[in-house]
């Protein structure tokens, strides 16, 4: 929210330009609009400046300037986040890392890479793929999202069931601390001494500083991959199949569920080969050694059939496998065909509670006279109910937000969490007490004080605050980059 006087703004612009150059600062109100939201367009906040540094030194200089001037600042990657985490809630600087995209070093022998934060997630796997390696965390937005953004949110993805989330793949970080000092947390070696600052930094949603270099682990590509589609006439049976697979001692690389609303949207949009009349489908991927993979696939198939699958088929080649995954990964985009807008929830539950919670989700949404599409990481218990709605209808957005809160309450009640991978950001600050006591929150706040005592670094997030200048619906309008066809929501 622009509250600076014109003259102060001019002075600041010159100071920023002195650091990054004229072409790396945006302050025109029209242009700033592009950065007023992330993938969750429910929230909007305007920066005073969006700045595009190209080096650690520039980031550090910007942060020092922000400290001198008492300006809030927040790092931004690709803006694909889904909780409003990178919005300038109190105005000030948005520090975009989109020009820091280098792969600084790849050390194949030690299976690690050093990258800059603006590097697109998938680009790393592309770069190391020819040598037989890849970077495991694979959020659905991996074609656009940045590894720096993944650090902030501790991003997951379909394959985290077997391979873990971002934090399990990060060894070290070069960080510009909230006061502008540049330090290394962790490094290339394992078991760094002292407190696990890498561990606490990852997932801190940009409130502990800005990562400017990232040391990640690379994995060897598996020898074999098998992708199975199991089709169900009842969503309950699909849920039971998830428990049956895990209960048989199988740990698939991915175990995803897609419901009928989603299947139909995906089929209309892309024609990926999912049966339109199915109540739900499970997309199950096994990977690893070629030896035994057929036997594993049989065990998975048997578990699905026993739970009541009407059809189980294995992708016969890479093309069919890619098509099935396309259906899964572009599901969010496909909702645009069936609804003007949707709100994606991100609750997590113990896997065994899946049948109960899905039933409750449907009840809650039906009671609010809304529709829901489910596409999610069933193997992890990470739900993504997408509540479909039309923001132009008065009162509908409020009902959506209310239903979303009720869903998260149910997740909390069964021993789950309010976010599995999207983060708290602006969206879920008020829901934190669903799962954390005042003592828990106070401890988190103390840790924040240790990193960010002045509170200038990404203020107004995670913990409730009154100072925020964020606009919240209901006056929906399409985001400029959506209008320009430059982005879809993930």
């Amino acid at each position: 929210m622009a509250t600076l006087t014109e003259s102060r703004k001019n002075t600041l612009r010159r100071a920023i330009q002195a650091i990054v150059g004229k072409s790396a600062v945006v302050s025109d109100p029209e242009e700033l609009l592009v950065y007023e939201s992330d993938g969750l367009t429910l929230f909007r906040a305007l920066a005073d400046f969006v700045v595009f540094p190209t080096s650690t030194e520039q980031v550090a200089a910007l942060v020092r300037l922000a400290n001198q001037e008492g300006l809030p600042f927040v790092a931004r990657g690709a803006g694909t986040g889904l909780s409003g985490g990178c919005l300038p809630a109190e105005g000030g600087l948005v520090i975009s890392l989109s020009r820091m995209t280098r792969i600084v070093e790849v050390d194949y022998d030690n299976q690690l890479a050093v990258v800059e934060p603006g590097l697109v997630n998938l680009h790393l796997s592309w770069a190391v793929g020819p040598r037989g390696y890849y970077y495991a965390p694979d959020p659905s937005s991996q074609q656009a999202c940045t590894i720096g953004g993944n650090i902030a949110n501790n991003s997951g993805g379909p394959h985290t069931l077997k391979y873990g989330v971002t934090t399990n793949h990060v060894l070290g970080l070069e960080v510009v601390l909230p006061d502008g000092e540049v330090v290394w947390l962790g490094g290339k070696m394992r078991d760094p001494q002292g407190y696990d600052l890498v561990g606490i930094f990852v997932g801190s949603e940009g409130t502990f500083g800005i990562a400017t270099k990232i040391v990640v682990r690379l994995l060897r590509k598996p020898q074999a991959v098998k992708t199975i589609l199991a089709v169900f006439d009842e969503i309950e049976k699909a849920s039971e199949a998830v428990s049956a697979i895990i209960g048989r001692g199988l740990v698939p690389a991915a175990l995803e569920m897609i419901d009928q609303v989603t299947i139909q949207a995906v089929e209309d949009a892309f024609g990926c080969g999912y049966p339109r009349d199915a109540a739900a489908a499970l997309l199950i991927e096994l990977d690893g050694l070629a030896a035994g993979i057929d036997a594993q696939a049989e065990r998975v198939g048997a578990a699905c059939v026993e739970a009541g699958a009407r059809e189980v088929r294995t992708a016969k080649d890479e093309a069919e496998r890619q098509l099935l995954w396309k259906g899964r990964k572009s599901a969010f985009g496909a909702y645009g065909r069936v609804s003007p807008a949707y709100l994606v929830m991100d609750g997590v539950i113990p896997r065994t509670k899946l049948p109960y919670v899905l039933r409750r989700v449907n009840e809650i949404v039906a009671a609010a006279n809304l529709r829901v599409g489910n596409v999610f990481h069933a193997g992890d218990g990470n739900l993504h109910p997408n509540i479909l709605y039309d923001p132009r209808r008065p009162g509908e957005e409020e009902r959506v937000v209310q239903a979303g809160a009720e869903i998260l309450k149910v997740c909390a009640e069964v021993g789950g969490s309010i976010s599995g991978e999207h983060g708290i950001g602006l969206e879920k600050m008020d829901y934190m007490p669903f799962i954390f006591s005042p003592a828990d929150l106070a401890t988190m706040h103390r840790v924040k004080e240790a990193f960010n005592p002045r509170g200038l670094c990404n203020p107004g997030k995670i913990f409730p605050t009154k100072k925020s200048c964020v606009e919240v619906g209901p006056a929906y309008r399409a985001h400029p980059i959506e209008e320009q066809g430059l982005a879809q929501r993930f």
């Binding site: 330090v183 030896a291 969490s417 309010i418």
Partner: protein, 444 residues
């Protein structure tokens, strides 16, 4: 400590769970005797004891099985030893969720037995599982050979309950395998050696028990050849769960060497489905053959378990009376060279040394044999080892050494630029400095 305070503590936990005087001999730390050892029976009792101690400014040293208590600088203050062994229950285990919640004082062996009865296990295998407690393992970030595939505590811990310095019960994380709500507090307590809070409960990820589990041991004339074998394995299709490397001295010390001419061995763990384990054992033999092994064995069942147990306990077993143990971390590709050089250093100082490495993650345990009356050769060797590791860009922690050595050789590396953040975290979470004071990095 005031007698009145001790009486209050007795009132909280019961007199039979408060040790004083001569009963404290098992809890003497670096030559210092605590004022009392207290064994609470519930989280509430832990909370009350800590609140009292904090109020009175009495230092509290949490104590699980004591297997890692030797790690750390001598304590600056030693008041109450807080034993967690009575908090030994498995609280929840739902096999379909692949998670379990247990109290901090449960031993690893008891935890694995309970999980194993229902077909699952907690995939962390540090040494001394019979005594080591879950909370202690987390606080010390202890790990074992299987960390190669299954990771360390930071990859497995999803939720934690700690009692903070002032007695508040604080929970971080949760009970689900994926969770980004709020800061990842469980990470802070891993490897914090009890300086930020007392771990009273932990929720961990589990794995199904494998159908089969074997150990492939390939012996080589030279350590260098072991290093080559490691590289061959890492660039093959094999997916070992453990990739450990032992030098000749370690092999002999543990009684694992078949012949005198073995300069090192590669130990590979393979677990999973029967068909996969069989294929991996055969493929491993083919893959490492290029490095010219002089010995090749496949161990199963008891022989396998015994071998892994000895390897994990190398710090206590390589020599009859080891003088010091240094754990160091370098890049995986530096392991054999660093081990060779460290061996030369020890020899030059007239000491025997043995080395065991989790080779593919670059974590090495270096054990130094006792050199007789003078501590000087031990001190000289440890200092040179430190230099060697630093020159390689790595870091080392002195895991065990007599007090006389610790007075001459730093236990931890000098803290780096990020240390001020660590100090601030400590000041925020334990403002009075009552939790395990003085033992951690940088004097925390």
């Amino acid at each position: 400590m005031q007698p009145a305070l001790l009486d209050k503590v007795r009132g909280i936990v019961g007199s039979e769970y408060v040790l004083t005087g001569v009963e404290l001999s098992p809890y003497v730390l670096e030559g210092r005797t605590p004022e009392a050892a207290v064994f609470p029976g519930s989280v509430e009792e832990v909370s009350h004891v800590l609140a009292l101690a904090s109020e009175a400014g009495v230092a509290v040293t949490p104590w699980g099985g004591g297997t890692k208590i030797s790690i750390g600088a001598p304590p600056t203050r030693l008041g109450i030893v807080l034993g967690l062994r009575r908090l030994n229950r498995l609280l929840e285990h739902e096999p379909g969720d692949l998670t379990a919640t247990a109290q901090g004082g449960i031993t690893l062996e008891a935890l694995q037995a309970a999980l194993g009865a229902r077909g699952q296990w907690f995939s962390l295998d540090p040494a001394f599982g019979r005594e080591a407690t879950l909370g202690g393992i987390l606080a010390a970030n202890a790990s074992g050979p299987r960390r190669h595939l299954y990771g360390t505590a930071r990859d497995l811990l999803i939720g934690v309950a700690v009692v903070s310095a002032d007695g508040a019960v604080v929970r971080g994380g949760g009970k689900v395998v994926k969770n980004v709500a709020g800061y990842d507090l469980p990470k802070l307590y891993i490897g914090s050696f009890g300086t930020l809070g007392v771990i009273v409960e932990a929720t961990v990820k589990l794995r199904p028990l494998p159908d089969d589990d074997r150990l492939v041991l390939a012996g080589f004339e030279r350590l260098k050849d072991c290093g080559q074998a490691v590289r061959l394995v890492l660039t093959s299709d094999l997916i070992p769960s453990a990739v450990d490397l032992l030098d000749g001295e370690a092999l002999r010390g543990l009684g694992l060497a078949a012949g005198a001419g073995v300069g090192g061995a590669l130990l590979l763990g393979f677990d999973g489905m029967r068909e996969q384990v069989k294929w991996q054992c055969e493929e491993a033999k083919r893959v490492v053959s290029e490095a010219g092994p002089v010995e090749h064995r496949v161990l199963e069942a008891y022989a396998r378990e015994e071998t892994w147990r000895l390897v994990r306990e190398v710090g206590r077993r390589a020599f009859a009376d080891p003088a010091a143990v240094l754990q160091l971390a370098v890049l995986p590709t530096q392991v054999t060279e660093v081990v060779e050089q460290a061996g030369v250093v020890a020899q030059r100082n007239g000491l025997k040394a043995a080395f065991a490495a989790h080779a593919a993650v670059g974590v090495v345990t270096a054990v130094l044999a006792d050199g007789g009356d003078s501590a000087q050769p031990v001190i000289a060797t440890l200092r040179e080892w430190r230099e060697l590791v630093r020159a390689a860009g790595g870091h080392a922690v002195l895991e065990r050494a007599p007090l006389a050595v610790k007075e001459q050789v730093a236990v931890w590396e000098p803290p780096g630029a990020a240390f001020r953040i660590m100090e601030r975290i400590k000041a925020q979470l334990d403002p009075k400095g009552v939790l395990n004071p003085g033992r951690f990095v940088g004097g925390i």
